[in-house]
Amino acid sequence: MSLLEIRDVTCGYGHRMVIDSMSVTVDEGEGVSLLGHNGTGKSTLIRAISGVIPVKSGAILFEGKPVANLTPDALVKRGIVHVPAGRRVFPNMSVEHNLEAGAFTRTDRQEVWHDVEAMMERFPILGERRKSAAGLLSGGEQQVLAVARGLMARPKLLMVDEPSLGLSPTMVQFVFGILAELRKDGTSVMLAEQNVRKALAVTDRAYVLAQGRVIMDGPSESLLSSEAFREDYLGAKRGGSFGELVEEALGTQS
């Protein structure tokens, strides 16, 4: 049984459907990428899963139970957490209160502050700036904060939308290093990205979206060896083996 199973889901905005009868699964402990150019519906699918926009038809099962069209707070309580594109940290709140906000649905208040401390240790760039307003952090620091804030809910599935958006190459490297660590710890991740190389390096499988449909999917390695995929999404000249790509994406240390 998959952790998340999206079955023939159609959804969009108002009367305009963006996602057309799409099926996607994420297994327990698995990392799955949603790839595709700008405007193909990656964010829209994630918004439907997190309950921000309604599902028009089809089913979403989480741990085998139907969860389509539940409210966002009910979904967070069940363990589905959405780290939005553009980071969306609370700008006038301190780093630590941003983290606390991520744990809003938890009832173990004592444990929450324990977890805040754990995040500060795990991500020292946050620990150093725990009292500063989140709006004063750099884009990369904000992205780390956004991911950490998501983790504060103790998600079973973390959905991260475009973490590389607007970040400097060094910061992209840093943020993907964190995602790779999360994956090693066994966190189930759904990652929407336009940065195909980086995304494939930290996930086991990928779906390629175009105009609201899945046009290709499979294990990251086999996508990389597919001629069509390389031409359309990596640029034919580049490419290389999967191992090389992981090394390039995460730097030599990994």
């Binding site: 906000a101 809003f104 952090l137 990369g140």
Partner: protein
């Protein structure tokens, strides 16, 4: 000197009233990026209700408290009926529906209490006392004290309770707050309730100070409070408070300089100046992200 101190106290009193009313505008604005056009009518309705309760003999503190609670309930009703159904529509739509809600409330008030100006009972006595040879009026001091206490309580609730901090999240980014699992359909009405409660408190103090309550006062209060909110930085709870105080003092001293006929224009001058020179307000805390 004596005159200056008296004007300062009066200015602070009127200013703290503006501040109480401004909080409602400021908080709602920070969520929706819209002026809550029904706010002025909600607080007018609250002031009239207080008047009626006082006339029929309800004890003063009870009457004032109930009027504030009514303000909170009216604020929540406006949110439910005029704002929520159109929350994600084009900006112009909630603006018009709020204007409509305000019109309904104002017309209802006029149907009940009539268009004329009513005197308002002196719920705070107009004594004065002498301090260092200076005659100090008692009523403005009490008005300032009530405003400070109410804003302090609201600040503590917002800063130190879980729901209060969730409210701050919603004010800063309603979409992100929703993704944290914060139930926005509980928090947003709460914001309107806080605004309605404090706003009616401000309105009752306002009509006490000026000893008059009438239907159109909502509009005037709206100008003043909006100007105060902008002065302090819209969306900034404490900014709205300080902005209110500054506006009150400026008005009090403008009476000295340009005469009382132009007093009400001061807030409009402030609005123009702030928009031109510092659109985020004096204490605008709009921290922009670097990347």
């Amino acid at each position: 000197m004596a005159y200056v101190i008296e004007q300062l106290i009066n200015g602070l009193a009127v200013g703290s009233v503006y501040a109480l009313i401004a909080v409602g505008y400021s908080m709602v604005y920070s969520i929706l990026y819209l002026i809550n056009f029904a706010h002025g009518d909600v607080i007018t309705f609250g002031a009239f209700t207080a008047l009626t309760m006082l006339v029929i003999g309800v004890p003063i503190p009870v009457a004032l408290f109930l009027a504030c609670v009514l303000g909170a309930a009216l604020g929540m009703t406006v949110e439910r009926i005029a704002y929520r159904p159109v929350r994600y529509a084009n900006r112009i739509v909630p603006m018009i529906s709020a204007l409509g809600a305000g019109l309904v409330i104002a017309s209802t008030a006029q149907a009940i209490w009539g268009p004329e100006v009513h005197a308002f009972p002196q719920v705070i006595p107009r004594w004065s006392f002498e301090l260092f040879g200076q005659l100090i009026p008692f009523q403005p001091l009490i008005i300032i004290a009530i405003a400070v206490v109410l804003v302090t309580i609201a600040t503590i609730l917002l800063d130190y309770t879980r729901l209060g901090r969730a409210t701050k999240c919603v004010c800063q980014d309603i979409h992100a707050a929703q993704l944290m699992g914060i139930p926005i359909n509980t928090i947003v009405p709460l914001v309107y309730a806080i605004g309605g409660f404090l706003g009616v408190a401000g309105a009752v103090l306002y009509v006490t100070y000026f000893n008059a309550v009438y239907i159109q006062m909502g509009l005037l209060a709206t100008f003043k409070a909006w100007s105060a909110a902008m002065l302090g930085g819209v969306g900034n709870f404490h900014g709205a408070f300080v902005g209110g105080l500054l506006l009150g003092i400026a008005e009090a001293f403008s009476v000295v300089v340009v005469g009382s006929a132009f007093k009400d224009g001061v807030s409009l001058v402030f609005i123009v100046l702030i928009l031109l020179l510092k659109p985020d307000g004096l204490f605008g805390e709009r921290t922009t992200a670097r990347s």
